[in-house]
Amino acid sequence: MSKVLMKGNEAVGAAAIEAGCKFFFGYPITPSSEIPEYMSKALPEAGGVFLQAESEIAAINMVYGAAGAGARAMTASSSPGISLKQEGITYAAGAELPCVIVNMMRGGPGLGSIQPSQSDYFQSTRGGGNGDYRTLCYAPASVQEIVDYVMLAFDKADYYRNPVLICADGMIGQMMEAVEFKEPAHIDLPPKDWTTIGTAEKRKPNIINSLYLEAEVLQDHNRDIDKKYKLMEENEVLYEAYGLEDADVVLVSFGTTSRIVKTAMKQAEKKGIKTGIIRPITIWPFPYDVFKNIGNKAKGVLTVEMNLGQMIDDVKIGVSGKLPVYFNGTQGGVVPTPASILEDIEKIAGGTK
């Protein structure tokens, strides 16, 4: 398929269908409403089921049911709607159910605004629901990456039997860009022999559940699923890094914001300031190790986010106290400008920040 122009929200739907998603349950919310709109039209044409649930909570629990029957299922929403889904996500993690959840983040807290934001970083990377669980979390920075990582997310969800999050912001959801659908790399997936689709009286019933009343049994279960999280930390870290070895200033940014950062970096280069960038593509697991590649010329690390600095803690763990960490942020739906980032780069490079 040649390149076509798609809005990010449409691309989520198209990529999910391409990846074999057969069930979409959701409830519309700006700025992600085009996802259910697209799915309502395209999914039935692809032999799947679109259902507009009565609420976000109903939608995630329908995903739980479809996943339990072994189907590829997805839900999508925007920040306040994703908050409502947290109970379902932790249940799915506890019951080891594969599913994909897309969050087109908007300003918060509470109802917030309908403008783009990245303020669900804590919720996405620390587990927004209760209990010891983790979710793989991809942060695409373009509509093409939405296509690529939504498709990958379905495979990874099945591979680990765990919910996978796509954490984008409203800007990517609404923005139109050129995309191409490429065949993803083949991943060997284990057979789904745990689903509740009837025993045909040939085996014992499978049970899908996250309730373990005996402490020791639950502890064993926790330790079992922790092995998966350790594997994810080992094998699933994705990032883009550039120019770290001889950078005066290193920038850290994910999603849409990283594109604005790159524009500022090119402007800094014209002024003779060398910059490098670390862009986490998975915000969990976080690419801590790549910070070791920062050269000894660096004067500081600048993290740029559309929130109050939720990634700073992770950046500080990566930097391990070797360099000062600064923050440039916008909140509430305000999008940062290259000019304000350039100003901070100049201050750090010149030693005035």
């Binding site: 122009l5 700006t30 923005m175 860009e177 050129a178 290259p338």
Partner: protein
Amino acid sequence: MLDKRLVIVTGHYGSGKTEFSVNYAVKMKETHENVSIADLDIVNPYFRSREKREFFEKIGVKIFDSSIKNTAIDIPALPAQMMGVILNPNEKSVLDVGGDPVGARVLARYSGQIKNTEYDMFYVINGNRPETSNVEGSLKYLRMIESTSGLKVTGLINNTHMLKDTKVEDVEFGHELTKKVSWETDIPIRYEAVIKKTAEKINNEEILEKLFPINLYMREEWMS
């Protein structure tokens, strides 16, 4: 230019209506004293012409949008002045309508009055959008928009592009597509909208005849 006083810009969702409307209003200001642009987009929450209010005020183009003064609200509220924009005989007016039939529905509220005035309704085609990449798809949306709005399309705009990477081939592909739509509907092609950088490289006579070079006012510098 031969366009009527009132120009209504419609099209499939994401076809580039707003970018065309903004460029068109700027162009009209060169030859008309009173120019206004009305943002009737009740579908999109982002990238609406109302975000360019300051720019329009600076160049002396009047802009009308939601009666609720906030760019970040998606409530379908339109101000009473909209009727003035539509009916004022001394005003060169551009209506930037939301995408698809759902966006065009807002026009139905004014169609009775619009029918009694001189108007052009443009249908913007972007052949690089999957749903309007062929004649059938383009015709489907055109017919649905006409039936929802109660108004007839009078001109086709070829706006086939690949954003800042638009190549001459994209424009030519869109031209052929728009020509076929024109043949099927007997609606003439009015403009071939092309970003300036690519417009310079076009040598197809048919396209040059109706070439409408545009700037990308709605894309930030960091966007592709």
